[in-house]
Amino acid sequence: MNLIELSIISLTSAMVVYALAFIAFAMDLARRSAAVGAAQQGQVSEAEQPVAVAAGSVAGSSTSVNSASVNSASAGSASVGPGPLPRAGKPKAADTGLAYGRSPSLRVGVALTVLAWVLHLAAVLMRGIAAERVPWANMYEFSMTGTLLIVGVFLLVLTRVDLRFLGTFITGLVLVLLLLASMNFYVEVAPLPPALQSVWLVIHVFVASLATGLFALGFALSVVQLMQFRRESIAAGGKPARLRFLATLPSSQKLENLAYRVTIIGFILWTFTLMAGSIWAEKAWGRYWGWDTKEVWTFIIWVIFAGYIHARATRGWRGSRSAWLAIIGFSAVLFNFGIVNVFFKGLHAYSGL
């Protein structure tokens, strides 16, 4: 058995483990819904303790503030006292929604994701070693490495901010992309054509994939933000909202800030991608910019995200409208990768298909 076959086996195993992780994360979401349901059942007794809630929040204890919003979700605003909520204590706690903790299935989901990522990494490394070059020179390899970076960015961010609730989204997305790539894009290892023999292949494509990983996270957060915002509006009207697990997630405001933070890092990397690509194009094709289809789409994506950043700074555009721009931006990234590479004609004819 050679390295290339081992790489395929390793990638297939990674996909199986991602699928298991996906199931574990989905079970966690189900448990969250159940937990919220239970909390709403116990509403009557909880509503008798508004004083305790308020006192807790003044002291900066960790659970309080948003249980108020859970209360209001079902029973109106009995527990929200007059005047603004004190902004004391730990901001994280205040924004983490209903206290929920980490269920066993959530822990299993994260552990399986790490395992799958290691297998995935091994598959990518073996492919690279077998090819004796960076493993991102055709569509199959872009997909393999790009998804590795998406999960890598996700796991890295997890060490700093608790975004475990995005596990279903990330593992689901990566699983679908890997399945598509294995079934439609697979090509045998081939040497690099002269135009790809450049350090810029290493830099430009790698940074672009990294940016894609961050945009993916920003996209996921923006989607949850929109759902959360809807729930919050419904809850503010005093009606019970569906998708109860949302009550255990951060507020839409907090989600928006998180989405913004990962997206601007992605934007900076994308800006770099665009510039590195131009420098490379100057070397390989004799001009730094020529409105080749792939260049056009890289530009479009850049402009959309510049629009997103502006929207965040424009009165009337913060919140849901800017979230839509992050969603459109990432859709354009996927389009650029999946459709432009395969179906559009241009100089970037490196899909290997």
Partner: protein, 582 residues
């Protein structure tokens, strides 16, 4: 006006509707003002940005004349009805079209209109002191309180906060006011992160720089193409180019007439990996450059490694075979001999070329040739090439006689032969086999017109070894763009500006000391984010901790004498530990 009025951080307009009712009719200047305000608002910038993104899409759906002229010709042939309509909308020149230009020009006018007042405002802000401490800090971000150690007075406590803030990069101002109760309140107001706005302004200004240099850059340069067969030399003068596109302001007198010879062209193809058999691995053009009055020097041009010489950049863009063909009249006199570049048609370099023999024979002769570096026969009997290198080279020629049209004055491409006006002398239609030659072979032309030879460029090679039997050509792009370096410089400024404006937090922080009834000092800390600042609250509480520790260390110890050495040193230690922790 610092930021556009609809920036989320600006104060919302005060009851615009109310103003509208009482406002007198806008005069011309008033309208201009209004228009300018609209043009430089955040909403307009956002709208134009999104419009720009949308307007860029069609250029990726329809071939563009600038990047894919053949695609445009093909599109016209495939969609004879639709194409002219699209052409009216400049759909084949999207990126230089009136509407695309209008969008980005408006965007940049808006950008300039936005950046200038902000720069002016920022320059003023850079010199101004931080604003006065707000009366009540309790509602601000990260509000927290500490009790000053006994024996510390308010002025000293605030001064120590001032020094602490100053040492961590804040601009500071001290204030001393009276509270409603008549007590004296000391406070320090501090601000940092002016670099954030600077970065933002650098970013936007550098964008203008990129646009302007790109816009003008093409005007001062040129780009030209030239095909060279191995052994040929090109002199960098206007007439020597196969095609030449000067910019608007380019002066051909400035061309440096260096000589460039293509000595050899080497192509490597994959032969081991059967999955990628025949895929190109490396192309190398070995050249010799001679500047006027100087020794010649050797150079190489590769796909990702252009050659920079004589103020020009030389790129290797294409390559192929240039079979050497000799035609003789019936008496054996050479009437034509040349290496003719054949244009590759596929990855295995099946190539097509044209031979035109205007003089020396009874009739003008045109030959349409196909060259197969490794000839193979399909089941249908058609020839094709199965490998791009010279394993079994074969040249086929279809011969035509008649007026080649070279004297009509209409420039004709050397790569095409208009056979409509010519009489075929070979071909399936008239039942005469076309001419087939391997390197070194000669055949008679039909009708006793003479003979044609496919010269072997490497006649001394062993039998069956055809490497080097056919010369190769390389096509070079030669450019000159004096503004390229400027574009790079502005691009780097864009990136640096972006990094600072997105990662330097701009914040205000206040520390206030309030005297209580019992003479104790309460210290209040709070901050205000100016723009995205996720770490503000943590920063305020860290400041409070550090400041409290400082005061603790400076305070006269309550029970130990002030000059007690061991105690003093211990306190210093604990202060340092605190500093490290924060």
């Amino acid at each position: 006006m610092s930021r556009p009025s609809d920036h989320y951080d600006s104060r919302p307009p005060v009851s615009e509707a109310g103003d509208g009712v009482t406002q007198p009719k806008l005069g011309f200047i008033g309208w201009l003002r209004w228009f300018w305000r609209q043009l430089t608002s955040m909403r307009t910038a956002l709208f134009l940005l999104l419009l720009l993104a949308i307007a860029a899409v069609p250029g990726s759906l329809v071939p563009q004349r600038s990047s894919d002229p053949n695609g445009v010709t093909q599109y016209f042939a495939d969609n004879p009805d639709l194409a002219p309509v699209l052409d009216n909308f400049q759909a084949f020149d999207v990126y230089s079209s009136a509407w695309f230009s209008a969008i980005y020009l408006l965007l940049f006018v808006s950008l300039i209109g936005c950046v200038i007042p902000r720069t002016a405002h920022h320059l003023k802000a850079l010199r101004a002191a931080p604003p006065k401490t707000p009366a009540r800090l309790a509602r601000l971000a990260g509000f927290t309180t500490r009790q000053a150690p006994a024996g510390t007075d308010a002025a000293t406590a605030v001064d120590s906060a001032r020094r602490l803030l100053k040492s961590t990069g804040y601009r500071v101002a001290l204030f001393n006011s009276r509270s409603r109760a008549g007590r004296s309140e000391f406070s320090v107001s501090a601000e940092r992160g002016y670099l954030r706005e600077t970065g933002n302004l650098v970013f936007h200004s550098a964008l203008v720089g990129v646009l302007v240099t790109v816009g003008f850059g093409s005007g001062f340069g040129f780009s030209g193409q030239r095909v060279l067969v191995e052994g040929q030399t090109f002199v960098n003068t206007l007439g020597a180019y196969d095609s030449f596109n000067p910019g608007r302001f380019f002066d051909d007198g400035t061309l440096d007439p260096y000589k460039l010879s293509l000595d050899t062209f080497e192509a490597d193809y994959e032969m081991e990996n059967l999955d990628a058999y025949g895929q190109p691995i490396d192309f190398t053009a070995d050249v010799t450059i001679t500047h006027r009055g100087q020794e010649s020097e050797a150079g190489t041009v590769k796909v990702n490694e252009p050659l920079y010489t004589g103020g020009t950049d030389v790129y290797l863009l294409g390559n192929g075979y240039a079979p050497t063909i000799t035609v003789k009249d019936p008496d054996g006199n050479v009437v034509f001999t040349d290496s003719i570049p054949f244009l590759p048609q596929d990855a295995n370099l099946t190539s097509m070329g044209v031979v035109k023999v205007p003089d020396g024979l009874d009739e003008q002769l045109g030959m349409l040739g196909f060259f197969y570096p490794t000839q193979d026969v399909a089941a249908s009997g058609a020839y094709f090439s199965s490998f791009p290198d010279l394993v079994y080279p074969m040249l086929t020629l279809n011969v035509y006689a008649g007026d080649l049209g070279l004297d009509s004055g209409v420039p004709a491409s050397v790569y095409t032969l208009d056979v409509d006006e010519l009489t075929p002398l070979t071909g399936r239609d008239i039942g005469i086999d076309s001419i087939e030659l391997m390197p070194g072979e000669t055949q008679d032309l039909p009708n006793g017109l003479g003979s044609v030879t496919f010269e072997n460029a490497n006649p001394d090679a062993a039998d069956g070894d055809f490497t080097g039997s056919v010369p190769r050509f390389a096509s070079f792009d030669i450019h000159h763009d004096p503004t390229q370096g400027w574009v790079l410089l502005f691009a780097i400024l864009v990136l640096l500006g972006l990094l600072t404006s997105l990662f330097v937090p701009r914040r205000r922080v206040w520390v206030k000391a309030l005297e209580g009834d019992d003479g104790s000092i309460r210290l209040e800390y709070a901050g205000l984010a100016r723009g995205e600042d996720p770490t503000l609250e943590a920063a305020v509480s860290a400041l409070a901790d550090r400041h409290a520790a400082l005061l603790e260390a400076d305070a006269p110890p309550a029970d130990a004498p002030a000059d007690s050495l061991p105690g003093g040193s211990q306190q210093t230690d604990s202060q340092q530990t605190d500093t490290r922790q924060t």
